[in-house]
């Protein structure tokens, strides 16, 4: 790389920057422009320090939806197809081309030649078939669950070394997009044949991606090294060949202040999860903020109909009308967090604007509760037959400012005479109570995926089942949606589901949750997959 000559300059710049920080001087806004001017031609080499908010959990690929997991696995694995984050079109990657039959029950993929996993074994039709057999059907013996992005899977068929065919029992139009999601990362045959507990461990994940694991300190740090012989980036990628960076240090840094401080002081290059209140600090210091949309089911409160209070649809509707999502966003968040106008993000496929149905109307809410027989008691909390209108919810660790959000909603509900019982996230009881609709009446969550099936992932009893649904009609609608081969018909069905969910008041959508990243001005080529997980393949440092 460069000689030693520029060093004094850099050092003095660093000192200047540090002095600047200490004396809190302004005028930092010019820095990005300077960075862009100095960008020029990409350079190879260097180490990127990436600070992650939470430690990765189980790294079994279909469990990669959790952002800390996805941030690691997106660098280690490739997928059959690539979803262009701008157009959301599916483009070739490991599969150079594919054919889908009329009713979307048979998919044939033609694979790129010469792709290998990092353990040297070939990524061929055999390996792909082994991967999707597990993702599509699970493996009870190895305790591997079915992946939520594959529906109606029947079997795979290896046509020849580089051709694989998948058969479905019913139409599965979401499958093509399903092959591009983070959870569909391809791993070696050895990895996929391991039992669940072992696939969970990072050291056993062998992919074909641009980086490999060099070192791991569990729950603290993961070091990734570039794979020198990598040469199978998606065709449409501007950059080909090996990754620019030599190394990535992923360091788990849960404290928000520390992440932002490390970024602005130059100790880190790239951080995930810049909180809303820190965005301005990061921008003022001359760093870039990327608020990437997640195009899925919005951040919101999901009401569980199996709860003895919430089984009454009037109570659910009252809570929906009595929640002021705009006030939540205005108070706690920034324009990076658009107010929800439906169950789905406005960038999701099949989105329909339901802002009128979701309008804040405390008067109507109070009336509904009166009708349902809930009368205000002496302490201002409504009661019925000696039972207080009190609902439990857990603070949700992955959701930004979940506690503050719940407190603010609780404040709005208190005016209606409803008590929201907010429980801290790290209590030992959470694991037990979260699946109990009586104790946890409400779930605060979201899910990102750029396909119509995202709504099924969220609500179907066999997928995430956030509301612990006991509504057979909802399940039926979701299954119908996932089996409609025609795009327009699928979107119409997704719209119908959104209307149904809002009408039944299973959901109180709050805002469209982005993933917010802070990036140093000398980091270029920042890219994300379709639901905001970073890709470091084309990143380089000047």
């Amino acid at each position: 790389m460069s000689s030693s000559a520029p060093r004094p300059v850099l050092a003095s710049l660093a000192v200047a920057a540090a002095t600047c920080l200490l004396s809190a001087c302004g005028g930092g806004g010019t820095a990005p422009a300077a960075g862009a001017a100095a960008a020029g031609k990409p350079v190879y080499g260097g180490t990127l320090t990436y600070l992650e908010h939470q430690a990765p959990t189980c790294l079994y690929l279909p469990a990669a939806g959790f952002y800390p997991n996805g941030g690691v696995l997106n660098q280690l694995t490739d997928k059959l197809t690539w979803q262009n984050p701008e157009t959301l079109k599916i483009e070739p990657w490991i599969a150079t081309s594919w054919e889908v039959n009329e009713d979307a029950t048979r998919y044939t993929f033609h694979l790129r030649d010469g792709v290998t996993f990092s353990d040297g074994t070939p990524l061929d039709a055999d390996a792909v078939a082994a991967n999707f057999d597990v993702y599509g059907k699970g493996d009870p013996k190895l305790k591997l669950p079915v992946a939520e992005f594959v529906n109606n899977y029947e079997r795979s068929e290896v046509v020849d070394k580089n051709t694989v065919r998948f058969h479905f029992s019913k139409p599965s139009p979401g499958f093509l997009q399903g092959t591009s999601v983070i959870g569909a990362g391809l791993v070696s045959k050895k990895t996929i044949s391991l039992p669940y507990e072992e696939q969970c461990q990072l050291k056993n994940v062998v992919g074909s991606g641009p980086f490999t694991v060099a070192k791991q300190v569990v729950d603290k740090e993961i070091d990734l090294a570039a794979r020198k012989d990598y040469d199978w980036a998606p065709k449409s990628s501007g950059h080909q060949g090996r990754a620019y960076l030599d190394q990535i240090k992923i360091i788990v840094t849960p404290e928000d202040n520390v992440r932002v401080g490390a970024l602005t002081s130059g100790q880190a290059d790239y951080v995930r999860y810049v909180q809303a209140y820190d965005e301005q600090t990061v921008k003022d210091a001359g760093f870039a903020i990327y608020a990437e949309p997640t195009r899925g089911v919005n951040n919101g409160l999901y009401l569980r109909p199996a709860n003895s209070i919430l089984k009454d649809v009037r109570v659910r509707r009252a809570l929906q009308k009595g929640t002021n999502a705009k006030e939540v966003v205005d108070t706690l968040f920034t324009p990076s967090y658009p107010v929800a106008t439906s169950v789905l993000s406005h960038l999701a496929q099949g989105y329909v604007d339901l802002s009128k149905e979701l309008a804040y109307d405390p008067g109507a809410a109070a009336k509904l509760l009166d009708e349902a027989g809930w009368v205000k008691g002496a302490d201002g909390v409504r009661e019925k037959d000696g039972v207080k209108l009190q609902l439990g919810v857990f603070v949700s660790g992955p959701q930004p400012l979940s506690k503050q959000t719940l407190e603010l909603v609780g404040q709005q509900w208190a005016k209606l005479g409803v008590k929201l019982e907010i429980r801290p996230a790290d209590a030992g009881t959470q694991a037990v109570d979260i699946k109990n609709a009586e104790k946890t009446a409400i779930a605060h969550s979201m899910v990102g995926r750029a396909d119509q099936d995202v709504i099924k992932s969220h609500f179907h009893t066999k997928n995430r089942d956030v509301i612990l649904s006991n509504d057979a009609k909802l399940d039926r609608l979701l299954e119908e949606e996932s089996a409609l081969p025609d795009e327009a018909a699928r979107n119409a069905k997704v719209a119908e589901i959104q209307r149904y969910v809002v009408d039944q008041a299973y959901a109180i959508p709050l805002f469209e949750e982005p993933q917010v990243y802070g990036v140093a001005p000398n980091v270029h080529g920042v890219a994300f997959e379709a639901v905001a997980r970073p890709s470091f393949y084309s990143v380089w440092k000047s």
């Binding site: 401080g261 820190d278 301005q280 603070v395 005016k415 009881t429």
Partner: protein, 262 residues
């Protein structure tokens, strides 16, 4: 009395009044804020400023006093009663029982207090009362050891021997002669422990084991504010200052107990 001591007592009385009649000190609601007035710096309208949801921080500190102080009282009471009882029995019965109790106390003393409290919390589950009990259990050992050493001394005195000699029953002598004369250092420790308990309860609140949000509690207030340290310093600094002041005052009062010059 020295000025430092007067100040300490004044502070403790003030904080006790916060706990008893919070409405006198602040007109704001500690739970329901005005979202439009979020993150206001300390000023005439809001003495301690407001938090991210627009709640008055001073109101939250004042209303939080009852949770933190009553917790500390329960904790000290648990430690004082159980510890003194164990020490009294061990110190006056002596023999094998004394050995067993004191070895158990040794083991308890070797475990860090916070760790012990966390262990108890995991068994009992989170909550204000449970946190207080957990902190109290953690202090039983020190009370027991102190009480025993005093009891052993008093037990040997002539008037206790005389009481036994004149036909006093064991329990009655313990109650009328041994206990009252061993208590002064124990009470001093209780005052000190009061400060320690506030700190321990705040620590557990900070870790999320105490009161349920949005209930104000001092440790929780400090914890909630720490993410805003760069943008809204008052959220952590002011409740933190209150806790420090109360703990220092309790320790100053403890030092004065049993000392002629205060």
């Amino acid at each position: 009395m020295r000025p430092g001591l007067i100040l300490s007592w004044a502070l403790i009385v003030l904080v006790a009044l916060w706990a008893l009649v919070p409405g006198v000190f602040t007109g704001y609601d500690p739970i329901a804020g005005i979202p439009a007035e979020k993150l206001r710096a300390p000023g005439p309208g809001h003495l301690f400023g407001t938090d991210a949801v627009g709640r008055d921080l001073f109101a939250r500190v004042v209303h939080g006093a009852v949770n933190s102080l009553s917790g500390a009282f329960v904790a000290v009471a648990v430690g004082l009663v159980l510890g003194t009882l164990l020490g009294l029995v061990a110190g006056s019965v002596r023999g094998a029982l004394d050995e067993i109790v004191m070895r158990v106390v040794d083991v308890l003393l070797s475990v860090p207090g916070l760790l012990l409290a966390l262990t108890v919390i995991i068994l009992l589950g989170p909550g204000t009362v449970n946190v207080a009990v957990a902190v109290g259990v953690g202090s039983v050992a020190s009370f027991a050891r102190l009480a025993r050493s005093e009891v052993v001394r008093v037990r040997r005195t002539d008037y206790v021997e005389a009481a036994f000699g004149s036909g006093g029953r064991f329990a009655a002598v313990l109650w009328r002669h041994v206990l009252p004369n061993s208590l002064v250092p124990v009470v001093a420790l209780a005052a000190l422990q009061f400060g320690v308990a506030i700190l321990a309860i705040s620590t557990l609140g900070f870790l999320g084991y105490g009161a349920e949000p949005p209930t104000p509690e001092w440790g929780l207030l400090i914890s909630e504010g720490r993410n805003y340290l760069a943008t809204a310093w008052w959220l952590t600094t002011l409740p933190g200052t209150v806790v420090v002041a109360v703990v220092l005052a309790a320790s100053r009062i403890s030092r004065s107990i049993g000392r002629e010059d205060g």
